[in-house]
């Protein structure tokens, strides 16, 4: 029997506010443990939460970018459970009335567009971190770092619209790119800024009802997400195909074993006893506020991709590569403005620029060659001042020195010899020095033409314009043939 996989994802993303969601403590990563805390995020007796306005604006921004409808009124709720890194014994989240509903994001699956529905986007606070390793007495006790307690999060819940591990990874990747693109998340998965849980089930192809799902937790990289899902899908198909039943449970991905394992069953599942948070009034977001946030939203990747095709005549592939991040897209547009040649700018960026950013682990925004400078290089090629081959060397020098193409070409005397008179004398010298080859050519041995062109290029130290050199040599050889 053939099985179909059904996957929905819950993505948790930190919002890039400088302060926490319910207090004024810093959200900076990497500070000494428990150095960014106060009565509110420590859950001291009597402390009360006050909602960070900017966090709400960022959450709205994300919701709009995901095509969601921002709700006029949303309600914070308490999710009650005991855990040492959860200081209040409850997490302030949103439950029955989230911030935003009903959005979608388009994936490119084997060249076709697949639309994945977004069920909801809601706001919540992060918990602290339990540290079970790395201390002399870690065998006996655990430590808690509450710097992360109260860092603002959005949770993005998808519809069960994905059909493979690869699609899920693509979805997660698109979400990450989008959140980074609009400036609400730094995309740093090593630091936990972006995390993901997956709901997975399988069913026989053709069946419309959903199979029993397992929730896979702790999959915090694209690679692990794909691996964990592939393992889980295979595990479930194995069970079902042998006539067994999948148990509804929460499973934890263990990257060291490459397996998911049961964490708690449905019976052991927490009853979170959600109820409206009495310390916070309902969050009211009026149309004017949504509009104001909408104004701050940059052109989104899809729109920009489409515009790169229509306005610059780029192939769809180029447009896709150039809109992988807003930095790359911005770099491209600045380079086009400076060069007037979109396809050439695209080729340089997709090739040399992106390759070097990877090789040298440098951000596009910090790339030593500015887009204006790259534009200058493209212009020199288009004017015929330097050859494409030579431009590669100039680019390398620009990268090393940060100088402009013009400056390098002038300083090194790299401009092509594009003057027929100047070339004629070089050609004459070459013909005089290679009398035999000239005779052979004139006797009909066409292959020697290439040799003679090579000699001309060599004599010009590579600066001869190749097309022009061809033309002048051919004319000179033809001229002498009748004598």
């Amino acid at each position: 029997m053939q099985y179909e996989t059904v996957i929905g994802l819950e993505v948790h993303a930190h919002l890039l506010t400088r302060t926490k969601i319910f207090c004024g403590c810093s959200t900076a990563f990497g500070a000494p443990p428990n150095s960014q805390v106060c009565p509110v995020c420590l859950g001291l007796p009597g402390a009360l939460p006050v909602l960070n306005r900017l966090a709400v604006d960022y959450a709205i921004k994300a919701a709009l970018a995901l095509g969601c409808e921002v709700q006029r009124e949303s309600i914070f709720a308490r999710k009650n459970y005991f855990y040492p890194d959860l200081p209040k014994g409850y997490q302030i989240s949103q439950y029955e009335q989230p911030l935003a509903l009903r959005g979608s994001i388009d994936l490119d699956v084997d060249g076709a567009v697949r639309r994945v529905g977004i069920t909801r986007v809601h706001m919540e606070e992060d918990a602290g971190k339990s540290l079970h390793e790395g201390f002399l007495d870690s065998a006996r006790r655990s430590y808690i770092d509450l710097n992360r307690s109260g860092v603002p999060l959005i949770e993005i819940v998808s519809e069960p619209d994905m059909r493979s591990a690869a699609e899920a990874a693509e979805y997660f990747s698109r979400i990450k790119a989008l959140l980074v693109w609009i400036g609400v998340n730094d995309g740093n998965m090593e630091e936990g800024s972006l995390r993901c849980d997956a709901n997975v089930s399988v069913r026989p192809v053709g069946q419309t009802t959903l199979g029993t799902k397992a929730e896979v937790k702790n999959v915090n990289s694209f690679r692990y997400l794909e691996k964990a899902l592939e393992f889980e899908i295979a595990r479930q198909i194995e069970i079902v195909s042998q006539g067994g039943r999948v148990v509804q449970e929460t499973r934890l991905w263990d990257s060291s074993t490459g397996r998911t394992q049961s964490m708690r069953s449905k019976e052991e599942a927490h009853d979170y006893r959600y109820f409206p948070e009495p310390d916070l009034p309902p969050l009211v977001v009026d149309a004017a506020r949504v509009e104001a946030v909408q104004q701050t939203l940059p052109e989104l990747p899809e729109a920009r991709r489409a515009r790169f095709v229509s306005a610059y005549g780029l192939p769809a592939y180029d447009a896709g590569v150039l809109t992988q991040s807003s930095e790359v897209a911005g770099y491209f547009e600045a380079a086009v403005a400076a060069s007037g040649n979109a396809k050439a700018a695209s080729n340089w960026i997709m090739g040399d620029v992106l390759r070097r950013t990877k090789e040298h682990d440098v951000a596009v925004s910090a790339f030593p060659i500015s887009p204006e400078s790259l534009g200058g290089l493209v212009r020199l090629i288009d004017k015929g001042t330097i050859s494409s081959a030579m431009a590669k060397d100039v680019f390398a020098q620009m990268f090393e020195s940060g100088r402009s193409a013009d400056a390098i070409v002038a300083a090194e005397g790299l401009a092509q010899i594009g003057d027929a008179g100047a070339l004629a004398s070089i050609v004459a010298e070459v013909m005089a020095a290679n009398v035999d080859a000239v005779a052979q050519y004139r006797a009909g041995k066409q292959q020697t033409f290439g040799f003679l062109v090579g000699q001309v290029m060599k004599a010009s130290k590579g600066k001869a314009n190749p097309q022009l050199a061809n033309q002048v040599l051919r004319d000179a050889l033809a001229e002498g043939a009748g004598q």
């Binding site: 007796p45 402390a47 006050v50 009650n80 005991f82 200081p87 014994g89 409850y90 109820f275």
Partner: protein
């Protein structure tokens, strides 16, 4: 004591005029605390040194010619569920018996900024859960008018402290009557402000949607003076209101002519002790004599107040008290090798919480559980809305609603401790103000045959504490009931 002024206003004026020093006033009140506490047990913590230093600072400011605050030199007692920076705050619970907060509740900070002198932290029912002060980990408080009686609860220590002359002002907190009922039992004034009028920041939460901090004093004027200092928006409390705060002392005109007083006769006739009902009727007659109009009103949903209250407050409490988990602060059980995290939670909380707190946590956990939420919590919220409509309707024709504060005079210690339900029913007249958010005040309206105090409760419109204080002050001028017990 006898040579010194007794009310906050008189103390403030005398200190400002240089008739007494703040240190003299402070020392006299500390002496009174020391003299009465062995019999009353009203204070969990007395901070004599800190208080005298603060009083000396007031005297120094006066000597330097600096502007003095509106409560400069006035001793205040703070209920032990309000955070005081550097001063032990326990909520009368073993789980916090060594907890010293690193920050001040907004109300204590505002009082101290106004020049008030904190003399100590008052005993109360554990986490403010109780109506008799018998649920304190530090033992019950005694009623200064009759030591075999309860002072009421949960702010029993604050009420006893004020009635015994330990301080002219005490702060209490009121979730279902915890300011008003002990004020009634101890023969003083107790005001529960409108929900949102006074910041809850730094108040150890019992039931967040019901809790409110308020003054307990011997005169309506002192309650007004305290409200001028503690009321008003606080950015640290998202549920605090930005409504303008009037000068409450300016409302004390002594005039109630034309004031429309509503009496829910059907509601107050049921299950009320005869002496209480007689005192209530006399009080209504007094207001009428002073020019008020008495109007019959109906509060058809008021009898549902107790069940609704105990669903809402236990649900919220079960969540609010989850933070006492022995991880960061508070009592932690002695752990042996092999004990798990679960053991630490269970045993620490079992050892740290008293029986009534445990009872309410369990009830509240049940109320919020999957499958029961709609039937209990949601239904209770719906009845709350109906109750709000009752009051909205009543306030179309009256300015205040009058009821007894408690159906009985102070009862005997131990009388109801074995019967939680009977204990809960003593809150019948007070819980609805919390459920709706309305301001309500209890004022002394006489004594029964055993010279036990009886209180009159007036409930007002949202944010209309001024009218309550005006009526209370006018009634007080007309009756002059004694408010100082001789312990």
């Amino acid at each position: 004591m006898s040579t010194l002024p007794h009310t906050a206003r008189a103390i403030r004026d005398a200190v400002a005029a240089g008739e007494v020093t703040a240190v003299e006033v402070c020392q006299a009140h500390l002496d009174r605390v020391v003299a009465t506490n062995p019999s009353l047990n009203a204070f969990n913590t007395v901070c004599a040194e800190r208080a005298l230093a603060a009083a000396a600072a007031v005297d120094a400011r006066r000597a330097a010619g600096d502007v003095l605050g509106p409560l400069a030199g006035v001793p205040v007692a703070i209920k032990d569920n309000l955070c005081t920076n550097g001063l032990r705050t326990t909520a009368s619970s073993k789980i916090l018996d060594t907890f010293v907060p690193p920050y001040d509740a907004t109300v204590t900070a505002r009082l101290e900024a106004a020049g008030a002198i904190v003399v100590g932290k008052t005993n109360c029912d554990e986490f403010a859960m109780g109506s008799s002060n018998e649920n304190s980990a530090f033992g019950p408080v005694k009623n200064p008018w009759a030591l075999d009686r309860t002072p009421g609860g949960s702010s029993g220590g604050s009420a006893a402290a004020v009635a015994a002359g330990c301080a002219p002002i005490a702060l209490g907190s009121d979730t279902g009557g915890s300011i008003r009922q002990p004020a009634s039992f101890c023969g003083i004034v107790g005001l529960k402000p409108t929900y949102g009028r006074v910041s809850r920041y730094g108040l150890l939460a019992f039931a967040s949607s019901l809790d409110q901090v308020g003054p307990m004093t011997r005169t309506a004027a002192d309650a007004a003076l305290t409200m001028n200092v503690i009321a008003g928006y606080d950015r640290a409390d998202a549920t605090s209101s930005a409504s303008a705060v009037p000068d409450f002392t300016a409302a004390l005109t002594g005039d109630v002519k034309g004031l429309r007083v509503g009496v829910p006769r059907a509601f107050v006739s049921n299950g009320v002790d005869a002496p209480v009902l007689e005192a209530f009727d006399r009080a209504i007659a007094t207001l009428k004599d002073a020019g008020a109009t008495v109007v019959d009103v109906e509060l058809p949903n008021a009898p549902s107040g107790i069940p609704v209250y105990y669903l809402v407050c236990t649900a919220e409490a079960s969540s609010n008290l989850a933070r006492y988990d022995a991880v960061r602060y508070g009592h932690r059980t002695t752990l042996a090798p092999g004990d798990t995290l679960q053991t630490m939670y269970e045993r620490s909380r079992d050892e740290g919480f008293g029986p009534e707190v445990k009872r309410r946590i369990m009830l509240g956990t049940y109320v919020l559980s999957a499958g029961y939420y709609d039937a209990y919590y949601l239904k209770a919220q719906q009845v709350r809305t109906l109750l709000r409509r009752d009051y909205d309707e009543a306030f179309r024709s009256v300015d205040v609603v009058a009821m007894p504060t408690s159906p009985t005079p102070p009862f005997t210690l131990g009388e109801k401790t074995d019967d939680p339900l009977q204990m809960y029913l003593t809150d019948i007249f007070t819980v609805s103000a919390n459920l709706v958010g309305l301001p309500a005040i209890s004022i002394p309206c006489g004594f029964d045959a055993h010279r036990l105090p009886i209180g009159l409760q007036l409930t007002g419109r949202m944010f209309d504490e001024a009218t309550l204080l005006r009526a209370a002050d006018a009634y007080e001028r007309a009756t002059q009931w004694p408010t100082l017990a001789s312990v």
